[in-house]
């Protein structure tokens, strides 16, 4: 990133793409973010680290991404009572990250909204799990919390509260609608029901166990999470995986994208009342998952990506089966796309529904698939192509309309692109070893990992201590950026269209709540 206007002193940072870290002093954080935003940067993640055991107080870390790489801003705070500037005026998506950071570390931003985000009275409100002196007690009982939803006043306005327990077996999220008749005046989300203490768990886990935990943060993106975590660990260790491992990782990542896009396309048809679509796309997805089990040892390719490389080498027959199956899936998906496109009823539901205009998407800092349906063009595979994507010439798909139909169209386009990539990877897969040896003990330091999962960029920041153990590990799901956009997408739509809008985003609960 062009730092001329920022007057920062950057230091290099281990990451799979160009990355720098820089200290920002008090008063500089907000202006640095503003300059970066004007230069086109977007907020990737925000987290707080407790370094009080080293006598260094706390550190607020703000990770930004621009066209030329990542920039990590580090802002030191002397003690727990210090506050840092509210970044939501520059990056709206920072608001929830700041609230979550407070719940976990007790370090508050100077923001008006002091409501908790992840805290749900599972631990005392004055205790913070990511503090060094935190000790959980089995005597803590779940308590009650009084969360202040914003209410809309006026004649005929009423409230519909949905979830976290739903009529179907789906993940927990609470949605508070303020409606007039069927029209949505306001939607407010409440998330955090699947908070499991993942970040805390990383710091108590032997490092050999950590990759398995990383692969279980968000089941539908297990490859992306394990991949990004492995990148960070490799960055710390200074290990470069062999080429074959990198190609196989990309293969697993693209197959994860294919499986999820197929599942979503079916579910979107089903939510519009066309159960035929669900049945057909589920069949195709099942074929992909069975191929995964044969080649990667697991239907979702869980634990296939490991630090240093990959866990197993698929046989040639399984790889060529993937290529042949890809041709067949592409043919079937093309036929199904024609059915969706020409079905008046389905198109009536999809078009203009849940629209996020490109300007709004840019303002909110949306990322990943949902951003690309609203005019965004960023895709890590195309913007920072490493091995093997540089050799594959990935095209980032995008649409301008920003409605459900656009998100469906981007899914179809990416599905066909990923099917092409799978064929290209299988054809050009280099021979050789599938894993490099990781050192038994990691040096102290900080490294990043970031890959384009099917929802968007999945990012890991891993910090190790002098004992080689994980001091702080922050996984970041693209859903953090996109959940607020769902609130906007629902505005002005009717209540019964919300499930379709929500499905067209299909954001993570587990990956977000951590």
């Amino acid at each position: 990133m062009k730092l001329g206007a920022l007057r920062l002193v950057p230091a290099p940072l281990a990451a799979p793409m160009p990355a720098q870290r820089a200290r920002v002093g008090s008063g500089e954080l907000l202006s640095a973010c503003r300059v970066a935003r004007e230069a086109g940067a977007e907020l990737v993640a925000l987290w707080v680290t407790d370094d009080s055991d080293r006598g260094e107080g706390f550190c607020v870390r703000v990770l930004l991404r621009a066209d030329d790489g990542l920039l990590l801003l580090e802002h030191r705070l002397p003690d727990a009572s210090s506050r840092y500037p509210d970044l939501a005026s520059v990056f709206p998506s920072a608001a929830r990250m700041q609230r979550a950071a407070f719940d976990l570390t007790g370090i508050a931003a100077q923001a008006d909204d002091d409501r908790p985000w992840l805290w749900m009275a599972a631990w005392p409100i004055d205790r913070f799990p990511l503090r060094r002196d935190f000790a959980a007690s089995p005597s803590w009982q779940p308590g009650d919390e009084d969360y202040r939803f914003v209410r809309v006043e006026g004649e005929g306005v009423h409230e519909i509260a949905v979830g976290p327990v739903h009529a179907g077996t789906i993940e927990p999220g609470h949605f508070r609608f303020q409606v007039v008749g069927e029209k949505v005046l306001r939607l407010e989300e409440r998330l955090g029901f699947t908070h499991k203490g993942i970040e805390k768990r990383f710091t108590t886990l032997p490092i050999a166990e950590a990759p398995r935990l990383a692969g279980r943060i968000c089941g539908d993106s297990t490859v992306a999470y394990a991949f990004a975590f492995a990148q960070a660990l490799e960055g710390l260790a200074g290990v470069a995986p062999p080429p074959r491992a990198l190609w196989l990782r990309a293969l697993a990542l693209e197959r994860e994208r294919i499986a999820n896009h197929l599942g979503d396309l079916g579910a979107l048809g089903n939510d519009a009342g066309l159960a035929f679509g669900l049945a057909q796309f589920s069949r195709l997805r099942e074929d992909v998952l069975r191929g995964n089990r044969a080649a990667f040892g697991h239907r979702l390719a869980m634990d296939f990506v490991v630090p240093g490389g990959v866990a197993r080498d698929p046989a040639d027959a399984q790889l060529s089966a993937m290529r042949d199956e890809g041709t067949r899936i592409a043919d079937d998906a093309r036929a199904l796309r024609t059915i969706y496109d020409e079905h008046a009823g389905v198109q009536d539901r999809f078009r203009t529904c849940g629209r996020v205009a490109p300007d709004l998407a840019r303002m909110l800092g949306m990322t990943g698939l949902a951003a690309r349906a609203s005019g965004g063009t960023r895709d890590l595979r195309a913007d920072f192509p490493g091995v093997p994507y540089a050799a594959l010439d990935v095209r980032a798909m995008h649409r301008e309309q920003g409605d459900v139909a656009a998100r469906v169209a981007v899914r179809f386009d990416e599905l066909f692109e990923s099917l092409r990539l799978v064929g290209a990877i299988v054809d050009a897969l280099p021979p050789g070893a599938i894993a490099a040896t990781m050192p038994p003990r990691l040096p102290a330091g900080l490294a990043l990992g970031s890959v384009e999962g099917w929802r968007g960029p999945v990012t890991f920041a891993v910090e190790t201590g002098t004992d080689g153990a994980i001091r702080r590990c922050h996984p970041h799901d693209p859903s953090w950026q996109n959940w607020p956009a769902v609130e906007h997408a629902a505005l002005g739509n009717i209540v019964p269209d919300f499930p379709l809008i929500n499905k067209s985003f299909n954001l993570a609960y587990s990956g977000h709540d951590l």
């Binding site: 409230e159 789906i170 939510d271 009342g273 209540v495 499930p499």
Partner: protein, 315 residues
Amino acid sequence: MTATAYLSQVLQVAVALALAPILVGWINQCRAWLQGRRAPPLMLPYRTLRKLFVKDAVIATNASPVFRLAPYVVFGAMCCAAAIVPSLATDLPFARAADAIALVGLFALARVFIALAAMDIGTAFGSMGARREMFVGFLAEPALLMVLFTASLISGSTSLPAIVDALAHRDFGIYPSLAFAGVAFTMVSLAENARIPVDNPATHLELTMIHEAMVLEYSARHLALIEWSAALKLFNYSCIGLALFLPFGIADGSDWRALVGAAPLLIAKLAAGGAALALIETLSAKLRIFRAPEFLGTAFLLAVLGMLVNLLLGS
């Protein structure tokens, strides 16, 4: 009326009670086949009913007697309707007790009670479902009445047995008015029975539900009665449709032997109707809820056209 007639009456209701869940099972099977899935067992609705009847009911603490009473009222209304609708025979004791307008009133009674029960609990979904159900109902009922009036004009009576007698024994000929009415009736039936494209009986998305949103709080025997009533309603609508538009083979008398003879033909007609319903549901997507007025407005228009054609052409 002889004892045989009453026996036949009981037989017709029993056949309706027994066949209704199977009809639902059959439609689900056809839907699965058309979607390319393996079909659930035909008798699955029966197993569901048995499961629900043996479970313990959970009732919200703030529920009033209306909530407990509603399933029985709805089930009773549907049983009465099954007695009135000439599914197997025309000349049954109960059929004289009510005409087509009373039948529509009976369905409205059930609708009012289920909507009251839905609002009784005070959840957002109950009120939302009740609101939508009334919204669909007030659009569907006039269209249904118009369809029945068209048939009444042909037979000169609003009594269902008289209508069926007149239609079944008329000279062979094409009645354009009945063609309009038939299309209108199909559209109304889809809406009234919470089928795609107006409602989706298979959805798990509470925000999109109409009928299901109203019964979310029911469990065990209450839910079993509601589900059975929904199946009976579908059965009754199917039988009304068959009686009006395919009245052949319905027994004239009230002799139970004639009823037994009429049963295989009824089952064949229901099977064909169920398959057609599954086909419609598979081919359509669900409408946005504010398209329902257009859909039911079209049904009303067609029904009125049917009447006008009848008045103008005298057929």
